[in-house]
């Protein structure tokens, strides 16, 4: 083709992720079958699937959920589903997700003009803006009034509960997926803006990931850190309950209000995304900044996914509850019994700490969990990463990614990302589902 004078674009990205060297991705052995299946069902293997394929058991249930959410029979038309996802992804300035869904949106027969700005979309869709905004950044503010505004008889155009719950799951799913996309530093697909170039490759430019190098620098003292972490995990498991109740509460408060600097200023998001966001300045704020009156925390025992959330979703959107339940279960049980260079490790406490820390950032408290162990197990650089990815995903940088767990495998870091993503999804869903339950009461 180039002989005929047609410019052939060249893919810029040297692998699915900017953080993980492509070489490493494939030597770490993504499960071939999963990728084949994903290729057969989607017609392409996107970067997302490639990175997730580091954890094939998760990828398979993720694809199932994704398929059920976007393709199977449901109350919302297919183009709407993708548009809702676009709206959700735009909140996190995630042009990767926006472009992926824009393509799917057009394929589903969506109106092209909608993509140029929210004002072209139907009022009914625009009605989701507030919910989208809260769900993305401060889900604890969602109340039954928000639900009522959309659902009650006076609201025009009106959402049915089934449609609404479908939309909520789509939004929450996409928000948390944005966390994953940013957290793993996914490169744009070759057909995305910024994913290809028409410039010939400069001969001096040897594609390499500089970050990759500094990730391996301190291998020596890294080994010691792992030892320490493992020792702490074992200690925690054996430790007898010693502290008082007051101490427990204080520990939760401490984790919640610990100031983790996350505000790294980034360049303005691409135009493509900006048009699709209302109030782009609305961002995550600490659930309860120090010294301020905090909104009531949510007790995990009073509204849990297993007891309440599942039943509600299953009732309003049959089968969806099952898919989500499976996802949560796969993530919470996912382990390879290894940590960095050690094999046969029970990582339960570490995974639990991570999960509960994220819920803690969203103001969900487990009465039966000692938040002291979060402090013991999660090093500061990890907390910085987790908080950034969960709450301000668009501010994730390669530096933050490489700074924590320096001696861990990349697949383990992706695992951490999966936990962040699912914990975040569950937290957002719980708040919304609780509001819907109150509304239905």
């Amino acid at each position: 083709m180039s002989e005929e004078g047609i410019e052939v674009p060249r893919a810029l990205a040297s692998g699915p992720s900017a953080f993980i060297p492509a070489k490493e991705m494939f030597t770490e052995g993504p499960n071939q079958d999963m990728l084949i299946e994903s290729f057969l069902s989607l017609g392409r293997v996107d970067h997302l699937a490639m990175v997730m394929a580091l954890h094939p058991s998760y990828l398979s249930c993720f694809l199932r959920t994704q398929h059920a959410l976007f393709e199977l029979d449901g109350p919302l038309p297919r183009d709407w589903r993708h548009y809702i996802s676009i709206m959700a992804a735009a909140r996190h300035h995630c042009s990767y997700m926006v472009q992926q869904h824009s393509m799917a949106f057009l394929e589903a027969g969506g109106e092209e003009s909608w993509l140029s700005g929210l004002e072209h979309a139907p009022t009914k869709l625009r009605g989701l803006q507030t919910l989208n905004k809260l769900l993305a950044h401060r889900p604890w503010l969602i109340t039954q009034q928000h639900i009522q505004e959309l659902v009650c008889a006076g609201a025009e155009p009106r959402w049915s509960l089934a449609e609404l719950i479908h939309a909520v799951i789509l939004m929450a799913h996409t928000h948390s997926l944005c966390s994953f996309v940013w957290g793993c530093g996914l490169n744009p697909e070759p057909d995305h803006i910024g994913g290809h170039t028409f410039c010939p490759p400069s001969p001096s430019h040897i594609p390499h990931s500089p970050a990759h190098e500094d990730g391996r620098q301190e291998l020596a003292d890294g080994a010691v850190e792992v030892e320490v972490l493992m020792k702490r995990m074992v200690e925690l498991q054996q430790q007898e309950e010693e502290c008082t109740q007051e101490e427990m509460v204080t520990r939760f408060e401490r984790e919640r209000s610990e100031s983790i600097p996350t505000a790294v200023v980034r360049g303005a998001p691409p135009e493509l995304v900006l048009n699709l966001v209302e109030e782009p300045e609305f961002r995550y704020e600490d659930f309860a900044p120090r010294g301020e009156q905090s909104p009531p925390i949510m007790r995990a025992q009073d509204y849990s996914w297993e007891d309440h959330g599942f039943s509600l979703v299953q009732r309003l959107l049959p089968d969806m509850g099952q898919f989500l339940d499976e996802e949560f279960q796969v993530v919470s049980n996912l382990t390879y019994h290894r940590m960095a260079m050690h094999e046969g490790v029970d990582t339960y406490t570490l995974r639990k700490a991570l999960w509960n820390y994220i819920h803690c950032l969203y103001g969900i408290r487990y009465d039966d969990y000692d938040y002291g162990s979060v402090n013991v197990l999660l090093e500061r650089s990890l907390k910085v990463f987790v908080k950034t990815v969960a709450c301000h995903p668009e501010q994730t940088t390669a530096h933050i990614y490489h700074d924590f767990w320096r001696h861990f495998r990349h697949s383990e870091k992706v695992h951490a990302n999966l936990i962040v993503m699912e914990a975040r999804l569950q937290a957002a869903l719980l708040y919304t589902l609780r509001a819907i339950t109150y509304y239905m009461r």
Binding site: D33, R78, R315, D367, D368, T437
Partner: protein, 787 residues
Amino acid sequence: MEKMSRVTTALGSNSITGRTMFCHLDAPANAISVCRDATQVVVAGRNIFKIYALEEEQFVEKLNLRVGRKPSLNFSCADVMWHQMEENLLATAATNGAVVTWNLGKPSRNKQDQLFTEHKRTVNKVCFHPTEVYMLLSGSQDGFMKCFDLRKKESVSTFSGQSESVRDVQFSMKDYFTFAASFENGNVQLWDIRRPDRYERMFTAHTGPVFCCDWHPDDRGWLATGGRDKMVKVWDMTTNRAKEIYCVQTIASVARVKWRPERKFHLATCSMMVDHNIYVWDIRRPFIPFATFEEHKDVTTGIVWRHQHDPHYLLSGSKDSTLYQHMFKDATRPVDKANPEGLCFGLMGDLAFAVNESLISSDASRKPYPGGDRRYPFFSFKKANPTEQFAHVSSTLSVFETDLDSNCMDWFVKTAQLYLLSGKPFTELCDHNAKVAQELKRPQVSTTWTMLRIMFSEPAPGPNQNLSKLGSLPLMNSFSMKDLGSVMGPEGRLERHKGESRQDNIHLEPGNSHISNNNEENEETEGSDGPTEYMFGDAELDDDDLYPMEHENQAVPEEQVYTLPPEAFQLRHEIIDNPSAPEHLQQDKADSPHVSGNEAEVTCLTPIETVSLISISQPLYSPHLHGSFFCPIVREMLSHYAEQGDVQMAVSVLIVLGERIRKEIDDLTQEHWYMSYIDLLQRFELWNVSNEVIKLSTCSAITCLNQTSTTLHINCSNCKRPMSNKGWICDRCRQCASACAVCHHVVKGLFVWCQGCSHGGHLEHIMNWLKNNSHCPAGCGHMCEYT
């Protein structure tokens, strides 16, 4: 609700009196428990822990156990139980994993007695042994059950549920050593308290968590379980394998289940989500609750029968911060509201009718149905069971047999099959349908069709005018004629029309890039029903040239959508998975100028049969009397047919008239007609016709019927197992399913195979192969034959 209803139940020496009453709590309750003599009740929740005395008229707060200025999480209770032997002893399960016992006999304000903090996670349930004073059992989210001896500081034994969360533990009422535990993964385990190493028995009771279980108070073998799957099941545990003997399906996940005292078959349930009522079921009548208490405004979290030998009082606590005492007398009885009449059609048109006997005897003057009325006595009398409190409704079953001939629906089937609804010009359709009706001896219908044709067809030359006259029709002359097109012979016009439409079709293709015209590709892909139709509908014609007569009528443009009958379509097309597509296509159809060239031509060509009618109508027909003039009449006529039960006629006319009438009839009615007709067609298994009707309908609600359940499940041809993959590779045998023997690609559409050697492949490939070869393409040596 404050109904005054006193009941005194004699229970030996102490009698219980009371009425339906409630009191406000300060906070939502999580659980309640009652002391043995039924005089006090304890309410526990995250922010409440109080004891109320049950007095005759009201609840009286006796004691607040939640003391201290900043109560610790030990007071945040998930469950509470009052000891049934020792009236001063209570136990609570705290959300932070503590098990706490309380001694009401303590003189200090803080009644806390023992504190066990052995569980790592929330304790879901505590249970005292029914006869042993110091034995307490707990079940926790961390997957362990622990047995405590209250005289010791630590648990005496720990039972492991293999890290599956324990939702409920219950000591058996009769077997001293046995307890049951229910789990989040749907299992129920039976344990012997003396053997902490291993459960005695385990079975899967529900899909999803089992939230609760309860032993029958009298029958030692019965265990009731309730789960998130909205079921209550009763298990017989006396046999070797736990056997499900009763099952009640509720409308929401079951949070608590409690057997009703003194009533062997009754149990009470409440739900975890959405549903706020308390139901009492007779497990032998699983379809309708025996009694319902509807007082609570939020989910009920705790239910308990007030006294273990009194079935009339039920206490309940709820998230709406109220505590209720329900009198059984005041319960709603859903049975009373249920409809006791039943009506059903048999396969051959018989009608069975069951009704309360009292109703039918009063109607003695009833005339027997001519077709035959056999009255059956109610055949399956249940043995009157004194314990069963359901009202016995003795019903009479009448069966009305229909005379097979009189009610024969052959005409319906024939009509449905023979009617033409599309694919030909309007007049031809009418004529054809009129003929069909005539042949089936339905003159009225036949006449209707003829009338319709006359009303709505274009001004046409009389029957006696032959083709040669057509060029200079007097009628046409009265219109402003623009060009020579009209003087051209019909054949000429037709030629031109064809040419144009073909061109247009070619034009269309690039626009619809997803329409694959290539045969080979069509074989592979499965196409929407859209494209083919679309091409026909959109063939743009220059109306002005072809059809001068239309000119005056432009005000109300008639539009007719031509589609091929469904059989003519390629069987498989690409499924464009797009719910919005139908509307889109329809719109296109509606917007596109109709293909009326054909119509004009045919109008002229077709000899018109019903001479008499035409000869009358001819003089009446003025050029200005347009079809819309008749619309009100036609509308009434259609409604008349529909009401008469001939919805077939209504729908057929609706389709054939299309745009001419559609706007006149409101969408709901149309939809209703379509639905009824489609339903009828499907009952007669006229799938093709019903599909055609669905396609031709213009209601979006109907056309989308074709879009639902389009999933096709396939089995792998090698291992015969269902293909769970989305691709074409079976995950079990790792082979491509059903490969073509000629091209070795996967066959995704029609697969033809030889019945002799069972090899096969793409229909077309096999056809081509067998034109030149006589042996099987797979090389098995079989002489295949293609016929």
